[in-house]
């Protein structure tokens, strides 16, 4: 999962980014509205965390432009005033959830995970995929009830595949949602990790479609 954080306070944005990475997200940070709008429209994200009080372009304006430009990712807005006018304005512009400053980081991460899960069409907090279960809030993946021992990167790949199970996910799509924009993208290492995952979760679940990508097959 990849998320965009648009927040002008460097301390808060790095705290958010750290908490989101712990929650299984790759993060890009934009420090003002203009940069945020640019990243949101040009990069692919699973979620955006958008502060409403931004220098440059106000948060509401950023969100409005995203939605007008056809950007559909779930957006969680951060408001300092905490009054309903801000929330109403945010939701009218197309926000999906809000958090009022000061907030607990864990709360924002859980809300972010819920938004991503709902956006992928899963109503429950625990997503089933054949013998696999992804607890989106704890970030834990189990196989037949037993927790799998996975690295953070493995968890990210498998969680993305579980969110989009039974659909072909191309390597570039996968890398878009795994790495933040600054990281070196490496298809080779994805292939290596997929191989490791197959051994951990059992053969036959992740299929490779030559020239297309991967698919987590759970339906008959």
């Amino acid at each position: 999962m990849k998320c965009l954080i648009v927040e002008d306070d460097p301390t808060l944005s790095s705290q958010l980014a750290a908490a989101m990475r712990d929650g299984g997200f790759a993060c890009d940070i934009a420090a003002d509205g203009t940069q945020g709008e640019f990243l949101g429209t040009t990069e692919t994200y699973d979620l955006a965390i958008l502060d409403l009080g931004l220098p440059g372009l106000p948060g509401i304006e950023v969100l409005t432009r995203w939605r007008e430009g056809g950007v559909t990712m779930p957006v969680l807005i951060l408001t300092a005033r905490g009054d309903w006018t801000d929330k109403v304005a945010g939701f009218r512009a197309g926000a999906d959830d809000y958090a009022v400053k000061p907030f607990r980081l864990e709360e924002v991460v859980i809300r972010a995970q819920t938004l991503v899960r709902r956006a992928a069409g899963h109503a429950q907090a625990v997503i089933k995929a054949g013998p696999l279960r992804l607890d989106t809030q704890l970030g834990v993946i189990t196989r037949n009830g037993l927790a799998l021992k996975l690295t953070a990167f493995e968890t990210r790949i498998l969680a993305y595949l579980i969110h989009h199970q039974n659909r072909v996910v191309s390597r570039s799509e996968l890398s878009d949602h795994l790495y933040d924009s600054a990281a070196d993208r490496d298809f080779k290492s994805i292939e290596v990790v997929i191989g490791r995952l197959r051994r951990k979760i059992g053969e036959g679940l992740i299929e490779t479609r030559r020239g297309e990508g991967y698919v987590l097959r759970t339906a008959a």
Binding site: D9, R81, G82, V88, F91, Y98, K101, P102
Partner: protein, 446 residues
């Protein structure tokens, strides 16, 4: 209609009545004096003519005594003590006199005059004409005196005074009616200005229409400018408040998350957050009720709040029934109504087990908004406690324990309304807002 003494209408009408009254009385006195002069003039002409006839008829006999010519034929000179008298004297001695004098004589003053006051034999007032003359062939001083009764002049005057007074009274009434009309017409624009101002207060209009009369246009323009300035100042204050909140709360959030989980600083941060929130809300909304010309329809605000709370409502599987009159409007700012409804609906969503009901209706000049849930509700003591905590909102208290209700009660009170907590027919809490209503634009003309 009883007018207060300090009203413009009372002053204009009073002044008009005073001036018209003085003018009418003066006119009456002047006209009466002219008429009296005219009538006495007529009597004086009559007595003068008789005196001339007597002088013309008078002669001196061989003994040098004055002899009267033919007596005036007017029968009034025959009637005893009629007040119509004539008398001829020679050197002060009566030579001839009218039969109406009987055995009395007239004692006119010595001077020669045409028309003057005098007294008759019985002391009755008379109008006197007296001429002193001489005749050829005699050295004596001759005098003729003719009188008319003053009472007849007075009676003639009395006959004239009555119609004169009535005509002037009718004229006075017509003038009074005219001045009333004038005052009403002159003040109609002022009344309209007052009505337009009341409509602004009631939230039916945002600015005054330009009056048709030139004198009131600068007043209306000034009032409009004031209203506009009021709005601008409030908007600027809001912006400052928002910026202040942002600049304080963002580092507060960073600080909160930088502290280890069991650090005592968290409690301090929570308290600072509450205090900032309380003071900012206070600064923002205490200005709002003074802002005139606001009308916020309730139904769209309810829809917006449900849009924000859509996620939690869907997740909890709650049914929301809305029953809002189309013309239910709040005479105040949208932000404040959003804050009140938002907090109450959020509270209902938190506690409801399956259903929420939102009702908005206008009753006279009051808007009633009820937000009910089928949750566990509160005890009567808790109802009172939740509302009284508003007085201590800036002090410490565990978060999420009715703080929202106290905020709402505080806001409602600022608008001259109230928040009432009761048991709902649904089983849970019924939060009732009573707020000043704004009349819907369509109902204005009625």
């Amino acid at each position: 209609m009883i007018l207060p003494r300090d009203s413009i209408r009372a002053r204009l009408i009073g002044l008009a009545a005073l001036l018209t009254g003085v003018a009418l009385v003066a006119g009456y006195l002047a006209i009466a004096a002219i008429l009296e002069d005219f009538i006495t003039g007529r009597f004086d002409a009559e007595t003068g003519a008789v005196a001339d006839a007597l002088i013309a008829g008078a002669g001196i006999d061989a003994d040098g005594r004055l002899v009267a010519g033919p007596a005036p034929t007017d029968p009034r000179f025959q009637m005893p003590l009629s007040g119509w008298f004539w008398q001829l004297t020679q050197d002060g001695q009566v030579a001839a006199k009218s039969p109406s004098l009987f055995d009395n004589v007239l004692n006119p003053p010595e001077a020669d005059f045409q028309g003057g006051p005098g007294l008759g034999p019985a002391g009755e007032p008379l109008r006197v004409a007296r001429h002193v003359f001489t005749l050829p062939g005699s050295a004596s001083v001759l005098a003729v005196t003719v009188t008319a009764p003053r009472a007849e002049i007075d009676a003639a005057m009395a006959r004239l005074r009555r119609p004169l007074a009535i005509s002037l009274a009718v004229l006075g009434l017509a003038l009074a009616a005219a001045s009333l009309l004038q005052v009403a017409a002159g003040l109609r624009s002022l009344d309209r200005l007052g009505r337009d101002l009341r409509r602004i207060r009631a939230g039916q209009a945002e600015a005054l229409p330009l009056p048709a009369v030139a004198e009131l246009r600068p007043v209306a323009a000034e009032i409009n400018a004031l209203l506009e300035q009021n709005r601008a100042v409030l908007a600027r204050a809001r912006e400052h408040v928002g910026n202040l909140a942002h600049s304080l709360k963002t580092p507060l959030a960073a600080l909160d998350n930088a502290l280890p989980p069991d650090h005592p600083g968290h409690a301090l941060i929570a308290r600072m957050d509450r205090q900032i929130g309380w003071h900012l809300r206070r600064a923002r909304s205490s200005a709002a009720p003074r802002l005139l010309g606001q009308r916020t329809p309730a139904a769209p605000v309810i829809q917006d709040i449900l849009l924000v709370l859509g996620g939690p409502i869907r997740e909890a599987g709650l049914r929301v029934d809305i029953c809002a009159d189309a013309d239910a409007g709040f005479a105040g700012e949208r932000q404040d109504l959003e804050e009140m409804i938002g907090n109450l609906v959020e509270n209902a969503v938190k506690w409801a087990s399956s259903a929420i009901r939102i009702t908005a209706r206008v009753d006279g000049d009051q808007l009633h908004i009820l937000i009910e849930d089928d949750g566990p509700g509160m005890s009567d003591e808790d109802h009172a406690l939740a509302l009284t905590r508003g007085a201590r909102l800036d002090e410490a208290g565990p978060p999420g324990t009715g703080l929202g209700l106290a905020i709402v009660a505080d806001l409602a009170a600022l608008h001259g309304g109230a928040l009432m907590l009761d048991r709902s027919a649904l089983g849970g809490l019924c939060a009732g807002l009573r707020l000043p209503a704004a009349v819907a634009p369509t109902a204005r003309r009625g």
